[in-house]
């Protein structure tokens, strides 16, 4: 029967290869899949294209990907970190490519990829340098810019709880990009704090339906807690 949990973290990211485009969840540290990023570091894939709203400001795990020179290009809305210059140095040295995207366009372009939308018109960015070279259109007297979907090979996201099918719920503002990113990748891998049996999540409150989740790991802390529970019961 369907059980998408993978116990080995490295196995969970084993198919990520050089040149992959990866959606990485998180807005700042909340929602960042720290253990999956660490596994990706260990995996060794290079020349990655990383889509993450905050890039260099996304927290220490993702910063390690940058400082290890594993990222060729970043697509994000706000790469500036207050407490780190890793991204800044790579960028100013021309060692990393940056596609800067208004945050709403980032979210909507990812959603478009997941929803089969080939492109959409938005008012955001019209008349600014972030819309330069893009097609525009006058609709009902207002100017719009044509934006493209962002498809990815993989999505790495963080959720609070999964059931064996991979239905997911999130916690507070750690929800952020996870649910949309899960829809837009060929392979979506989640990192979760809790795993409950099938039926353990109320069908009304599921945020990411299982169809979008290919596999998930539980955090080491969660795995240790489960092991301790099992010992206590034995």
């Amino acid at each position: 029967m369907i059980n998408k949990e993978v116990e080995d973290h490295l196995e969970a990211v084993a198919d990520i290869v050089d040149g992959s485009t990866i959606l990485v969840g998180g807005f700042g540290p909340p929602g960042q899949p720290v253990e999956l990023i660490n596994a990706l570091l260990e995996n060794g894939a290079r020349e990655l294209v990383i889509v993450n709203n905050n890039a260099g400001a996304g927290g220490s795990a993702i910063l390690k990907l940058f400082s290890a020179g594993r990222v060729r290009k970043v697509i994000c809305s706000y790469p500036k970190a207050i407490d780190s210059t890793v991204f800044d140095e790579l960028y100013l040295a021309g060692k990393i490519e940056l596609e800067l995207v208004p945050q709403g366009n980032l979210a909507e372009r990812i959603r478009a990829a997941g929803a089969g939308i080939g492109g959409f018109y938005t008012r955001t960015g019209y008349g600014t340098e972030l819309a330069e070279g893009k097609e525009t259109r006058l609709i009902d007297g207002k100017h719009y810019v044509l934006e493209q979907p962002i498809h990815a090979d993989f999505a790495l996201i963080k959720a609070l709880t999964a059931d064996p099918w991979g239905n997911l719920v999130y916690r507070k503002t750690a929800r952020n990009f996870g649910p949309v990113m899960a829809t837009a990748a060929n392979v979506t891998i989640a990192e979760v704090t809790n795993v409950v049996p099938l039926g353990g999540l109320d069908p009304e409150i599921i945020v990411t339906p299982s169809i979008y989740v290919d596999r998930f790991i539980r955090t080491r802390a969660a795995a240790e807690r489960t092991a301790a529970d099992e010992r206590a019961q034995a």
């Binding site: 369907i2 997941g114 089969g116 939308i117 059931d163 099918w165 069908p203 009304e204 599921i206 979008y212």
Partner: protein, 217 residues
């Protein structure tokens, strides 16, 4: 011997792998749900906002708020999830449904599908989610009788009824045989009407049929 609708449905069910996410449209294709093998877990999607749809509701299981796309009362499986219409159709249109099974008025040898209206000017047109499934599902299977009551073959060179989608059908499951449409070919995966034979059917369709029965046996 030609198959009954129940037998065709069972054959479709047999071809759907464990763990698949499947939309069974409305009407006859929903019969497939009755034949899904017990040793596989298949997750059913209904366009009106649910994954993990269960069987049709028995009289004592009816919940006024729980229907399927055909407006039949249904039940909920463990692992189910509800979502709104835009999310449900994003799922269908974004290529996330592994298999959809729909009925058909006509399927062309190129895989065009006509299943939403005839050419009658006095009938009320209605399309529902058919065009979304035709455009969005990973594998579009059509379940239909191969001939109309008037004896016309529904596998055609060119659809004469208005299209639901162009070049979208991958397989036709019918009482006469199972056909795969790919690379401009019609491959016969199975033939149940031995009397008709592949040559006889090819003459009716007006198109060569490739015997692919060995390849899948």
């Amino acid at each position: 011997m030609r198959l009954t609708r129940q037998q065709i449905a069972a054959r479709v069910a047999d071809d759907i792998p464990d763990g698949a996410y499947v939309n069974l449209g409305i009407g006859v294709p929903t019969l497939v749900a009755d034949y899904l093998p017990d040793d596989r877990q298949i997750v059913l999607h209904t366009e009106n906002g649910m994954l993990g749809m269960g069987h049709a509701a028995a009289p004592d299981e009816i919940d006024d708020d729980l229907i399927n796309a055909g407006k039949i009362y249904v039940t909920e499986e463990l692992g189910a999830a509800y979502f709104h219409h835009a999310d449900s159709f994003a799922m269908m249109r974004g290529g996330h449904i592994d298999y959809c099974v729909m009925g058909g008025y006509q399927v062309s040898v190129a895989g065009d599908l006509a299943n939403w209206r005839t050419n009658s000017v006095t009938s009320i047109p209605g399309v529902g989610g058919a065009m979304d499934l035709a455009a969005g599902a990973k594998h579009v299977y059509v379940l239909m009788d191969l001939f109309t009551k008037a004896g016309e073959c529904k596998l055609v060179q060119q659809c004469t009824y208005p299209l639901t989608g162009a070049e979208c059908v991958e397989r036709v499951y019918s009482d006469v045989g199972v056909f795969e449409l790919a690379d401009g070919e019609v491959r016969v995966l199975d033939l149940f009407d031995d009397e008709l034979g592949i040559e006889g059917l090819a003459a009716i369709v007006g198109s060569p049929l490739v015997d692919a029965r060995l390849a899948v046996s």
